[in-house]
Symmetry: C2
Subunit: 267 residues, 2 copies
């Protein structure tokens, strides 16, 4: 069993991912697909007259400021357009896919951070009424039930808080905690770069291999969203996943490539 996380950045080739996924599933390997939707959410938000507001926390992580209206736009894009679009593509390829969010069956449960401290224009500010949070607990029952009966789960944020509120959570870290809970051997994270790059302007500067004990030497290369991806990967490895592979989601056969070592392997 493997977990695949497909990012929501521009350039990801959904057709190629679904083709590859369908071929691999037909060999009998079980796959749970987790996906994002950030760039499409930015587009839809802007068209709806509610442009995205990205904020940077005091510890340096970037996230989307998510008031209730933004949360609903987020759900429209992630759970509506993208999730059902992927399920449709997989069904067309003969895969009995079922699309779910972390709210359904409380698959991803965690805490809501209703007040976050951010840094904006060099000043600290506290934002309230934010519906972001962090997954702490995975309720595997529903996922396992579906897998046992031959369905392929297609999973997306939001998660659900302990109080029953939908919360925007980071998809990479949610995929990492899911992979740990399922004790899978491999977690593949597809994005619009070939993996971790030493120089983000040079795609041939790929880091091919990171033993977890040397992680600290590589964290410095991770910029922007890659910081969270690396953090999620380290968490997954420490919780028992054998390999996390960062690979290119823009190319043909992206998953098969990742499984034979194309990309950055953290182990």
């Amino acid at each position: 069993m493997i977990v695949i996380k497909m990012g929501g950045s521009l350039g990801i080739n959904y057709e190629a991912v679904c083709n590859d996924l369908a071929s691999i599933l037909k060999t009998g390997l079980q796959i749970i697909l987790v996906h994002g939707g950030s760039s499409e959410t930015n587009l839809v938000s802007a068209r709806l007259g509610k442009p995205p507001r990205m904020v940077t926390s005091v510890s340096g992580y970037e996230s989307r400021y998510t008031d209730r209206e933004t949360l609903e736009i987020f759900e429209m894009v992630y759970c509506g357009k993208i999730n059902k679009g992927i399920v449709e593509k997989l069904q067309r390829r003969g895969i009995n896919a079922v699309g779910l969010s972390g709210v359904d069956g409380r698959i991803w449960e965690g805490i809501r951070k209703s007040a976050i401290t951010i840094v904006e224009d060099g000043k600290k500010k506290v934002l309230r009424d934010d519906f972001t949070g962090r997954v702490e607990k995975v309720n595997l029952d529903l996922i396992e039930l579906l897998l046992e009966h031959g369905y392929t789960p297609v999973l997306t944020p939001p998660a659900i808080s302990y109080q029953g509120e939908a919360i925007n959570v980071d998809g990479d870290r949610a995929a990492a905690i899911l992979a740990s809970a399922l004790k899978v051997e491999k977690l593949v994270i597809l994005s619009n770069v070939p993996g971790l790059l030493k120089d983000v302007t040079n795609e041939s500067s790929l880091v091919e291999d990171i033993p977890i004990r040397e992680m600290d030497n590589y964290v410095k290369y991770a910029k922007g969203r890659m910081k969270k991806k690396i953090l999620g990967a380290a968490e997954a490895i420490r919780q028992g996943v054998k390999e996390v592979i960062f690979a290119d989601g823009r190319i043909d056969k992206p998953i098969s490539g990742a499984l034979i070592g194309k990309g950055t392997i953290i182990h």
Copy 2:
């Protein structure tokens, strides 16, 4: 076991429906909730600069012209905002709800009508590239699996065509065919009117009881969307559902009220 269809018209009281649903579920009765989202889809479509286009078929039924872009807006609202919003409300009330579309697990399968003949300004026109269709087959496996394991399914269009395309289908008729397939005793259809009215401008002109053999005498009262609702109800009764109840979704305890006979009962 009962099927509840909650319409997508303005005025439906989602909080009241979810409160009532949670109380009834706690008595042990199994419920499948089906919902719509038409009025919210109209709002979001307009805000996205793609105003809805309602068309009337040659046989007099009104439907939404659904090109691929409209289908994706439809999915955003129905499967994203509304479906996940209902699941969240039910989870908050201690109900382990799971939101699905007819595409997931191919629950609702049917034909796509890629060309429809409409009447506009008194003239016949053929529209192509339309993603509307009709549910012909219900795949119960997934729904039954969820019910057996204590989950409450929350189901919404679109359906999926035999060729694997997402299709916009009428929610009332989809709920009716689902109710027939599940052989439930009762199908409750909640909308923003008290039931079938003899005079749509007078809410006290409610028809309380329609034996199916007298259906033809009542069809004339159904205007606009009510025509499809009546058609769906008649189909459900002919296929084995004992009672279809049209009831008011704007009031407190709308489902409990319907189950004790408030509304229009077709039997």
